[in-house]
Symmetry: C2
Subunit: 220 residues, 2 copies
């Protein structure tokens, strides 16, 4: 089946929201999509008609199994294109989201599969997010955010929670990228900020808010 760009964007947003909260409500989706609650309700009816959504009015909603499959294909395309933009076209990682937001709607299945192969079947996108495979399966990694890491243990940055351009820009300033080796030297009780040592750099301090959005795994 084929979906409009708008439908795909809604489906993807619902998918991301329900990953966190299980069930999604109208206002949070409206906020995520930068649209109005009334518009969301209209689209929910369409998606329910197409059996992509479990939805009863006033009761919240979540994707059906079919809906989830559609969402995963859009996510797959988004992350593969982001990988292409960074690895092949040398875009900075904080510049690719908006472009991938358009490219993810190109419809050819063969294109996606060939792109995947051309890129060497990558498992993670430039922000460390897992790329679903052709069947929608997602590779898992054991990762935790920096606030949960014991002191002095060296870990590797594996992904970024908040991917707002502001956050990514900040990480660029700190010289933190995926794969960067870090250890936590000190945790300050007053505001939860962390003193960290970044490989080959002088120790510096990051706020708790930033630390919570830096995910890491133990070095192999």
């Amino acid at each position: 089946m084929n979906f409009t760009i708008s439908e795909e964007n809604y489906i993807k947003s619902i998918y991301h929201l329900q990953q966190q909260s299980g069930i999604v409500n109208t206002n949070s989706l409206a906020a995520q999509m930068h649209t109005r609650a009334a518009s969301v309700t209209d689209m929910l009816k369409k998606l329910k008609n197409k059996k992509l959504l479990q939805y009863e009015r006033y009761k919240g909603f979540k994707l059906s199994e079919t809906g989830k499959k559609v969402a995963l294909q859009v996510v797959r395309k988004h992350r593969l294109w982001e990988f292409f933009l960074v690895e092949k076209l040398k875009f900075d990682w904080d510049k690719v989201h908006a472009i991938a937001e358009e490219l993810e709607h190109i419809s050819s299945d063969e294109l996606v599969q060939r792109l995947d192969n051309f890129l060497g079947n990558p498992s993670f996108d430039p922000h460390g997010d897992p790329i679903p495979d052709k069947n929608g399966r997602i590779p898992t990694i054991n990762q935790q955010n920096l606030t949960n890491i014991p002191l002095k243990k060296t870990v590797t940055v594996s992904s970024v929670g908040n991917q707002a351009p502001q956050m990514l820009e900040m990480l660029k300033h700190y010289n933190i990228a995926l794969g960067t080796q870090v250890s936590v030297l000190n945790k300050f009780e007053f505001d939860g900020s962390l003193q960290i040592k970044i490989f080959k750099q002088n120790p510096c301090i990051i706020s708790e808010q930033v630390a919570k959005n830096i995910f890491v795994h133990y070095a192999e």
Copy 2:
């Protein structure tokens, strides 16, 4: 300024039609776009309002200078993406048009420029059509169709006139691609068909209709 996908498709079609005939009329555009004359008229009004078109009702129309620039950028994107699909993703040349028809509407200028560089700033797309540069300038080549070539002279295939999948499939069957060396052995007066010799193959016969759509230049 930014245009909708539909506007871009109309602008591009008008551009291609006026390349041949100077001025364009409603019905031929409707045919080209697989739409109805009434829809064309509606869009003409929009494009005229946006100063992309010189248009007076019942009198035909053509692109303004601004309109031509927009068209050339869309053509540029279309042909760069086609090149990408064939050279990098190894698509057959008869499978890329429909996909490029979508990709040409991705809006980022930086993307186009980086793609161009990544591909090595190609001058011609997989069908031998020239790729406009950033400023809309088009490389020219001296080419003629096969019916105008003197007998026994060896020439190189440089582009294809009719690019319908049926035509491209046929050329694939004949083993004719861009760069293929050909010479005309004989011209049959009865139906205008040509006996030709394709490099490393036995002589074969092609119809006048096919010959007219094979453009060639003299080998360097």
